[in-house]
């Protein structure tokens, strides 16, 4: 064998070529198995669609397996596929019939067995999810165990199964999980968000729990379910020792628009903890709408950027009420505060009003508008004046340019040139 091991390399090449051939074979196998499976499922669904067209939904006999044999071929996998691909069959009555039929089959017993004791993790998860569609009561039994599984995928998909079921019982299981810190409350809340409002009663039982994490998430979930009947019980926690709980109380009062409890929320705008202030800001806006601006404006100089951002968003939402603060912000040496002033003016479309004011016959209005234009130009705010000038009459245009000239001669000259060029 030479220094380059030529013979050995040829041998390795041969083995690798064999491996490559095997991989190609696997690819082809996977492709054809998918194609065959897909066409089988499609065929069965098509057959079902044709057959049920001839049956009345009330006609039990017609749907019985003997007269509608195609139901026999609709196995669990096809049924779950039908539920997930909404283009297939959406008629709830037909789906209910198929579900009833599946409950009578041997296949369901097999799936139940896999869900409880399956060795392959993914097969087990598939079985749990399938059960959540077909046999929710059995799925609840299984999931109440699997949410405590060591494997995070099994826990995660058990929660998905609970999301499919959406009953008080499934909410109770989710609550138990929060109690035992199995998963984050955030994940649980996200899942409960699509449950019917009636599940609020499950979480309301724990509003006064000693566990602050549980109190926090229960109030938060009830808040997003907008269950206003618990307002007095929740409001008792406005001065809770836990900042999380205080923030969730604010959130709750905002979401149910508790006008009579607005004072409580206003107090929390000066809480020591930033996210309590943030939630209080959001809530007070939900309760008082534009009337909250005077309370919101001081928070534009808050230490927390998130609080500042929220205060800004509220002020931008009610620009006409915020404009007097915006003028003040334009002079601020802090560029962020300056920018907030600019954004408020921008959102309010104040420039149109200001240009109208400049041409107004009312001395006070004119003075104020000219002053505002001066402030904007002096503080480096870029204003698009061309479109407004183009739309004005010649007299108004000349007057505007003249006034702009008293503030910024260069800008006035520039605008004059543009207008003349356009005229030509």
């Amino acid at each position: 064998m030479g220094i380059y091991f030529e013979g050995l390399i040829w041998k390795i090449d041969l083995y690798l070529l064999g491996l490559e051939g095997f991989v190609i074979f696997v690819i082809l196998g996977v492709i054809f198995s998918y194609k065959i499976k897909r066409s089988y499922i499609n065929r069965q669904i098509d057959n079902l669609r044709k057959k049920v067209g001839t049956c009345s939904l009330d006609d039990e006999a017609c749907f019985a397996a003997e007269s509608l044999p195609v139901l026999k071929n609709i196995g669990i996998e096809i049924f779950v596929n039908m539920l997930q691909n909404k283009g297939n069959i959406q008629d709830k009555a037909i789906l209910a019939k198929i579900r009833q039929n599946l409950l009578k089959t041997k296949e369901i017993a097999e799936v139940e067995k896999i869900a409880v004791r399956g060795r392959n993790k993914w097969k087990r998860i598939e079985a749990i999810l399938a059960l959540s569609y077909i046999n929710p009561s059995y799925a609840l039994k299984v999931v109440s165990q699997t949410i405590y599984d060591k494997d995070e995928d099994i826990v995660s998909f058990s929660l998905e199964a609970l999301r499919n079921i959406r009953t008080n019982e499934s909410a109770q299981i989710i609550l138990e999980g929060i109690k035992k810190h199995i998963y984050s409350g955030y994940k649980a809340a996200s899942i409960v968000s699509v449950f019917p409002c009636s599940v609020a009663e499950v979480f309301a039982k724990e509003i006064d729990s000693e566990d602050e994490n549980l109190r926090f998430w229960c109030i938060r979930i009830i808040a997003h379910l907008k269950a206003s009947q618990y307002s007095s019980q929740v409001a008792n926690h406005i001065n809770d020792i836990s900042a999380n709980v205080r923030s969730s109380v604010c959130e709750y009062l905002g979401l149910i628009k508790a006008n009579d409890l607005a004072e409580m929320v206003l107090e929390k705008l000066s809480d020591n903890i930033w996210f309590v202030r943030l939630r209080a800001l959001q809530s007070i806006e939900q309760i008082m709408a534009g009337d909250c601006i005077d309370n919101v404006a001081p928070l534009i100089r808050d230490k927390s950027w998130a609080v500042v951002e929220t205060a800004k968003q509220i002020m931008v939402k009610y620009p006409m009420k915020s404009i007097r603060y915006a003028k003040e912000y334009l002079f601020d040496i802090d560029t962020n505060i300056h920018k907030i002033g600019v954004e408020i003016i921008d959102a309010s479309r104040y420039t149109d009003k200001m240009l109208e004011g400049i041409l107004s016959s009312d001395d006070k209005e004119r003075e104020e508008s000219v002053e505002m234009l001066r402030i904007m130009l002096k503080t480096g705010v870029e204003i698009e004046l061309e479109p407004a000038l183009r739309e004005s009459s010649e007299h108004a245009r000349n007057l505007l340019i003249k006034i702009i000239g008293t503030v910024d001669g260069k800008k006035a000259k520039q605008l004059q040139d543009i207008m003349e060029k356009r005229k030509r």
């Binding site: 030479g2 220094i3 380059y4 030529e6 390399i9 040829w10 390795i12 090449d13 690798l16 070529l17 491996l19 490559e20 991989v23 190609i24 696997v26 690819i27 996977v30 492709i31 998918y34 194609k35 897909r38 997930q84 993914w122 998860i125 999810l129 995928d153 998909f157 998905e160 999301r163 499919n164 955030y186 994940k187 809340a189 996200s190 968000s193 699509v194 997003h224 950027w305 560029t335 300056h338 920018k339 600019v342 954004e343 003016i345 921008d346 479309r349 420039t351 149109d352 904007m376 480096g380 705010v381 870029e382 204003i383 698009e384 004046l385 479109p387 407004a388």
Partner: protein, 467 residues
Amino acid sequence: MDIGNIIFAVVFYIFLGYFLVQAIYSIILVLMGFVQVRRRRFEYVHENYDTFARSFFIVPVTIIVPAHNEEVWIKQSLLSLLNVKYPMFEVIIVNDGSTDTTMDVLDSILQLRRMNRVFTNRFDCGKINGIFASGKYDNVTVIDKESGYHKAGALDAGLIFAKYQYILVIDADTILEPDALFKVMPYIDKNPDENIGIGAYFGLVNGFKIEDGKILEKRHSYNPIIACQNLEYIRNFIGARLTWSRYNAIPCVSGGFGVWRRNMLLEMGGFSSAFSCEDIEITFRAHSYMNKEGKPYRIMTVPFCVGWTEGPANISSLIIQRKRWHRVVIEVVTYYREMFFNKKYKVFGLVTMPYMVLYEMCGVLFELSSLVFVVIGYFLGVLSIKIFLAYFLLMIILNSLTGLVAIISYVILERSFSIPYILYLIVLSILDMIIYRPFLLIAKVKGSIEFFKGYRAGEQYKRPKIT
């Protein structure tokens, strides 16, 4: 055996070692990607988008589309954006000083009206000439700005006006799938505190039948240049990037589709127009910034197809595109050299960065010199054709195995595909090293020369008309 032969053999094995490490590393990446694909596919099948859409934790998105002389594609791209199904999003199109009819095309679709907006331009992105609202769609804004600040400048201009906390950056030739945002945003939603960036797979649109932003027929092009790029995209997005993503070590969230958190972009000073291309730079900067700040973060990739983009259909266009890509790799890797083998940056510093330096940046040197070395060896009579062929075949097989594993992942993920096209990709994965890689080598050589000449333009090849 004389000393010359021994020295030659030593150099030979150094080259061999270098290429073997690369091939094995690539195979490991795609194999680990394969495991990730299975998991993501399962999540995708069982994710209920309706439920997600109705959740009160939905994250709104601002889509920024920079467009410079994009009259050919902007209509389809814009219409595809208008077809996107997502509860809360806005679109900002930045006309980056186009000299063609891009603005007219936008006007004809959107019925633009000029707005008197005031703003503060905190970025070095050029003068903003006008801001336009759409008379037809409330959530669309067009910004007209001067050119000359690369795509980064256009993105920064969009950032000034972006309302929402998450920014989706796409190219003006990207045709988005209607459920594109649903495919990525649930991952952001799982942990918005940590997930600062996310990319996804997108394929090549060449050959597709498109009408009003909708893809009517996905007929993949059999042009070998296009198909080889498709294979390369599959290998990268569904293989390597998924694995890097698993270890939070992804080197690039592609500019064709990348979601970033706005507050982080603002804190970092926006996109940088000092580089030839902004996507890889912003990814490196995000890793660097978050590590320096000591903030927990995650930048990830999902393997789902979120859209389609147009790829160069001939060799000269391919070389123009790839030499720019290679140039920017050198620019970024040399700029962020302190991350090289720096354990502070964890897997990114210890694995991704060395790979970028050794194989992405310096690979061209090794490839060229190994070619010269083989030729010299042949003429000196030290290396026979048979030996060369044995080793070359070894490289071809290892390379094609990477492609084949990526194809399996693709098949498992997509489920609906054309069998002849997959067979064609299988053949190309074997021929790739002979019929495609040489052009990439030429592009890399040109890109390296341009880098050393200080050339930093973000040039584009001329786009063909849509069929």
